[in-house]
């Protein structure tokens, strides 16, 4: 895999556009702003999470300007997954020059129609999104499934990504044996992505968050059990996503989803919020075969058709207008070959609090073939705290043990920590709504050196904190 040269451009796409008329769908009502959609004869929104093709009969991006739709780019057998830059000037998208090609990432400059190939990979690269600070994230097909990866997007200004493991090259973000697809870069700079629940092994679509350096992975909310995918963030900060085939919402005030009282229809994927607060969404009403693009004013009784094309699913509406960039995330990974994790009170869990502290915690990992390995056990203090060093960038999970060594609680799924990550959690699956108590964990009163669960002999390097001078 290599990054393509930034100057690579496909040239006079505008001229080619003028000659093309493969698509000429018309808009039924004018949308509140220009937008891009993906048109496909068949769209299977969750197919890729399950290892299948979501556009089995191809797809093409359309630009809908002043109510009129036209192909966004020319010279592509397939194109999809448009992501508009924060300044509204460029569009990242996934494209195939020939139908047999793998999906690759390209970038269109809207002002002159020039297209450049952003990167060259041997396998599919899809669903690109711009990240703040001159970076981008996408889903890359690997031997373990689609994984999130990140790299510089090739445009100034480049903000130094102070991360020893991330340079101008490709940074893998989701080291696990499962599919993951980016859905949105939310305002706080984190990447919202879709994967199965339990993470790393389950098939129920769920929404997760990860920082731009791959650290801090967690579920957006912990009221699991519903198929959730396709999240988009509103200006208010609320997240709108597809729940089953209806819409639902995460709001800052609640630890669980709430339904969106949208008109009855089957919705597909994320929405786009216009400047006036209306939503562009992909929906198909009962009895209809294909998704169309509708506009909805939240609270209104009906959807207003914006774009409909016979025989085509119209999905992935994306506004072309400039928008406020998300906050850039300053990576703080240490130059270590391990990671440290602190649990404040492993007794606490949404699954029900344990009455007594576990005696020990066991760490399991997966080897390269996905086989489960036990890396060791570490003591748990009477207040439920433990502090361990773990192997980075691979699936891990914790199991709590009683005095007899019996498993009394097992973590759902797998997660990972990045090399050099040092992170803490309130309990074991307590969710983001539980704020920690202000006390020194007992385990840190015993020792400030983490218990070595790296499973390697390299733990001589594990000394409370980073080697060399540091700044607080």
């Amino acid at each position: 895999m290599r990054l393509a040269s930034w100057g690579l451009a496909a040239g006079s796409a505008l001229a080619m556009l003028a000659t093309m008329s493969l698509f000429a769908p018309t808009a039924a009502a004018k949308a509140d702003g220009d937008f891009i959609v993906t048109a496909a004869p068949v769209y299977r929104p969750l197919a890729e999470l399950r290892g299948a093709e979501r556009f089995p009969k191809g797809a093409q991006l359309l630009l809908v300007r002043d109510g009129k739709a036209e192909p966004l780019v020319a010279g592509f057998a397939d194109s999809a997954d448009a992501s508009v830059s924060f300044d509204g000037k460029r569009v990242l998208f996934a494209g195939k020059k020939a139908a047999a090609d793998p999906w690759q990432i390209y970038e269109l400059t809207l002002a002159n129609g020039s297209v450049r190939k952003v990167m060259e990979t041997q396998s599919d690269a899809e669903r690109p999104l711009y990240l703040p600070g001159g970076r981008m994230v996408w889903a890359q097909r690997t031997q373990d499934g689609f994984q999130l990866q990140s790299a510089e997007d090739g445009h100034p200004p480049k903000v130094p990504f102070l991360n020893p493991t991330a340079g101008p090259g490709v940074l893998p973000l989701t080291p696990m044996r499962a599919n993951a697809f980016p859905a949105e870069v939310i305002a706080d700079g984190r990447i919202l992505f879709e994967s199965g629940f339990p993470l790393g092994e389950g098939r129920m679509p769920e929404l997760y968050l990860v920082y731009a350096d791959g650290s801090g992975v967690e579920a957006y909310r912990c009221d699991h059990g519903r198929a959730r995918w396709g999240g988009s963030q509103l200006a208010s900060g609320d997240l709108i996503f597809t729940h089953g085939s209806t819409l639902a919402r995460f709001t800052s005030a609640l630890a669980h989803e709430t339904p969106v009282a949208a008109p009855r229809a089957e919705y597909a994927g994320g929405i786009a919020e216009t400047a006036s607060g209306q939503w562009l969404l992909s929906a198909r009403k009962a009895g209809e075969a294909h998704y169309q693009i509708d506009q909805w004013k939240p609270g209104a009784a009906s959807l207003q058709t914006v774009l409909k094309e016979r025989g085509e699913d119209l999905v992935q509406p994306t506004l072309t207008a400039a928008r406020v960039p998300p906050r850039r995330f300053p990576s703080d990974l240490h130059p270590w070959n391990y990671a440290n994790l602190l649990a404040l009170d492993s007794r606490l869990s949404l699954a029900g609090n344990l009455k007594q502290a576990p005696a020990a915690v066991r760490l399991e990992t997966q080897d390269a073939n996905g086989h489960v390995e036990v890396n060791g056990t570490a003591p748990v203090a009477p207040d439920g705290s433990f502090y361990v060093s773990v192997p980075p960038d691979r699936p891990i999970r914790f199991l709590l043990l009683d005095q007899k060594g019996e498993v009394i609680r097992r973590e759902h799924g797998w997660f990972w920590v990045r090399a050099g990550e040092q992170r803490a959690c309130v309990g074991c699956h307590t969710g983001p709504a539980l704020s920690p108590e202000n006390r020194v964990p007992e385990i840190l009163q015993r020792s400030t050196t983490p218990f070595d669960l790296t499973g390697t002999s390299l733990h001589a390097a594990v000394q409370h904190g980073s080697p060399g001078g540091t700044s607080r």
Binding site: P132, P160, L162, P164, D188, G189, G216, G237, S252, A253, L254, A255, R327, R328, F329, P330, S331, D332, H334, P335, N340, L342, L344, Y387, Q422, R423, A424, V426, P432, A433, L434, S435, P436, E437, N438, R439, V440, P441, L444, Q445, T448, P450, Q463, H464, G465, S466, P467, G468, G469, T470, S471, R472
Partner: protein, 682 residues
């Protein structure tokens, strides 16, 4: 150009160097005084340019008049219905609190940096008396019988009881550390006193605060309402029947390693409810939710009908509107602690109303229909309709006419500068006055003043932290310190615990951080803060320069232990001799490097170098620490790099067994006391 980076690596830091130049340029003059900006004119005479900086507000009982206390040293008087200006009454330096006498004929204002109380005749609208009070008076309340005035003194941690007629002090009542805000319950029976710094607790245990309860009739302390884990406690409000009290406070998590910010990991912002309405117990409830924080709750107001509770949150530039009956139902129905559940607010918070920079004091109109919020760093007051919870108007409080003119003149001047040759940008001669004002002051000076204001706004804002969770001022309360110790993450968990430092006078105190690793403020407040504190995109270059300029401009507050004229008491004189001595009590020479004034040299009491004075603890990577400033050291307990010494005495009686922190073990107790008396004058 490279500097040593945050992980001991090297990073390109041209921009830091650029910032340093910017900051140095901005700080060519020490301009800032809280609420006021002094500047020299080109004529050489000194004048003070004021931002109004409204802090607190009072309505008269009939709502006809609105008093606004401005940090600029003024009380602005407005028509309570139309907000038309009636008068501006100059008071003392850094006024912080005020209240009306029961008959509303007198308005009492405490001037925190003058240690005085101004008595204003509300008919004549002028100051009729100025009384000397305690150290840094921060609020004043007249009892309902007009017998006593109660004044909270921040530095002496007490409440002075004054004769309301004469100002003569009757007695002092102990209160919490940094006693600052007093509220008289509507039934007139009791006063409730909060404090901004936590009370001393054993090292590495949660901070504790309290509300001191005073019987208004007898002027006796009758109780303490504990606020466990709170630090930074501000206003109290009551329902009109006095059955419910509400305290605005911060709930820091300083005992946890600062590995992340989300989910209230570093700070929560809370209310504590007390009184019969909640079963005469205390209940702490969060104001934050999962991704939105209500940073630094300060002012609290309850509508007369008890339907709404409003809390100003300066760092979030917002007012949190709470449905009070719903809150009470939730609290009564809920078993177990609520404070750690960030989803609890969904049961009672009805709206977060945008306000201005450092939304500060609040006041509800007597009819309950309007809530006023003083936006201290915007010089505005937001008027909120309590039925719709929307801001319906904004009252502008420009600083003095002069400042307003200068700002206007600056804009015009800039406009003219950019005009094409022969093109006249100024429409008419009625702005000539502004031009003249602008010309009288150098443009660069005006820009400096504005930069400091922007820096102060950023310093007080929670905008830059992840999820807007906190600002600089969370730990540097009112631009000072917080009396707590923190565990920053990069050097390990529960390692290298550091005591927070007072900011005043640090302009010339580089290098920064106890380890001295940060050579200048832009490094300390730039990438270091972004990565390990905010954990989110930091200031842009200009804002960082402004913040550093603001911090650099902070002056030292008056030292209350110095005698007028700089004279020393006999004890202080003896202590000074010990501080400067060269031989010990046994006549043995003290090595040069073990004399007090070797490391604690110069006007700031520091040589800016690192020494190992034997205070390295088991969690410290090194025993080398930069000599700290002695500025106003009497105020800043606890001491040493990690805050282990609860008092100045403990530095030498407990933590200097080998005489490595100066030769002190030869000193008699009286001599040590003298030394400390002298140190307090620094």
């Amino acid at each position: 150009m490279s500097l040593r980076s945050l992980h001991g690596r090297r990073i390109d830091s041209v921009w830091i160097a650029t910032l340093s130049v910017l900051v140095a340029g901005l700080c060519g003059m020490r301009l800032w005084r809280p609420g006021t900006v002094g500047a020299a004119t080109n004529s050489g005479s000194s004048q003070i340019l004021n931002y109004a900086s409204p802090e607190e507000m009072l309505f008269t009982r009939d709502g006809s008049r609105l008093y606004v206390l401005c940090q600029s040293g003024e009380v602005r008087v407005f028509n309570g219905a139309t907000y038309a200006s009636i008068a501006t009454i100059p008071v003392g330096h850094q006024p912080r609190g005020f209240s009306l006498s029961p008959d509303e004929s007198r308005l009492f204002v405490v001037n925190s940096w003058d240690d005085t109380l101004s008595v204003i005749d509300t008919h004549a609208l002028k100051v009729t008396a100025t009384w000397h009070v305690g150290m840094e008076p921060s609020s004043v309340v007249d009892d309902s019988a007009d017998k006593y005035l109660y004044v909270a003194n921040r530095i002496s941690n007490d409440v002075a009881v004054l004769n309301a007629a004469t100002g003569a002090e009757v007695k002092r009542l102990a209160a919490g550390r940094g006693a600052s805000y007093i509220t008289l319950a509507p039934n007139g029976k009791r006063l409730y006193v909060t404090h901004v710094y936590p009370n001393p607790t054993p090292w590495r245990t949660p901070p504790e605060s309290e509300v001191t309860v005073i019987d208004a009739r007898t002027a006796e302390v009758v109780g303490h309402i504990p606020l466990p884990s709170a630090a930074g406690v501000f206003h109290v409000a009551f329902t009109s029947d006095s059955r419910l009290g509400v305290v605005a406070e911060m709930h820091p998590k300083n005992l946890l390693p600062v590995t992340q910010v989300e989910s209230g990991w570093v700070f929560e912002n809370t209310l504590t409810l007390f009184g019969p309405a909640v079963g005469n117990k205390t209940v702490e409830v969060p104001l934050d939710d999962l991704e939105n924080f209500a940073v630094r709750p300060f002012g609290v107001a309850i509508t007369p009908d008890g339907s709404r509770l409003y809390v100003s949150c300066g760092g979030s530039e917002a007012v949190v509107a709470i449905d009070l009956p719903r809150l009470l139902r939730y609290v009564r129905a809920h078993r177990g602690p609520i404070v750690y559940d960030l989803a609890a607010g969904a049961h009672y918070v009805v709206k977060r109303i945008p306000a201005g920079h450092d939304a500060h004091g609040v006041a509800v109109s007597p009819d309950g229909r309007r809530l006023l919020v003083a936006n201290r760093l915007d010089d505005t007051i937001s008027v909120i309709d309590t039925r719709s919870n929307n801001v319906v108007s904004t009252i502008g409080l420009a600083g003095s006419k002069q400042m307003w003119s200068l700002q206007f003149g600056l804009q015009m001047f800039a406009g003219m500068t950019n005009a094409a040759p022969g093109q006249r940008r100024c429409k008419s001669c009625h702005i000539d006055e502004h031009h003249r004002n602008a010309k009288r002051m150098k443009l660069s000076t005006i820009k400096q003043i504005q930069a400091l204001r922007r820096g102060e706004q950023a310093f007080y804002s929670g905008h830059y932290a992840f999820h807007g969770a906190m600002g600089c001022v969370n730990c540097h309360i009112d631009s000072t310190f917080d009396a707590m110790q923190w565990d920053f993450e990069p050097d390990g968990l529960a390692r290298n615990i550091v005591d927070n430092m007072l900011l005043e006078g640090i302009r010339d105190a580089a290098p920064y951080d106890w380890s001295g690793v940060n050579p200048n403020l832009p490094t300390q407040g730039g990438p270091r803060t972004e990565k390990f504190i905010w954990r989110s995109q930091n200031y842009d270059v200009r804002t960082l320069a402004d913040v550093c300029a603001y911090i650099n401009s902070l002056p030292e507050r008056p030292n209350r232990w110095r005698l007028p004229g700089g004279n020393l008491t006999p004890a202080q004189e003896r202590g000074k001799a010990i501080f400067e001595r060269t031989v010990d009590d046994f006549g043995k020479p003290i090595p040069l490097t073990n004399r007090c004034n070797y490391c604690h040299s110069g006007p700031l009491g520091t040589d800016h170098k690192k020494f190992d004075v034997g205070t390295k603890g088991p969690g410290d990577d090194s025993g080398l620490f930069v000599t700290p400033l002695l500025t106003n050291i009497a105020l800043t307990a606890p001491y040493l790099h990690n805050g282990r010494a609860a008092s100045l005495e403990e530095i030498w009686t407990i933590y200097n067994p080998q005489d490595r922190h100066g030769r002190t073990n030869d000193l008699a107790k009286d001599e040590l006391n003298d030394l400390i008396e002298y140190l307090k004058t620094r």
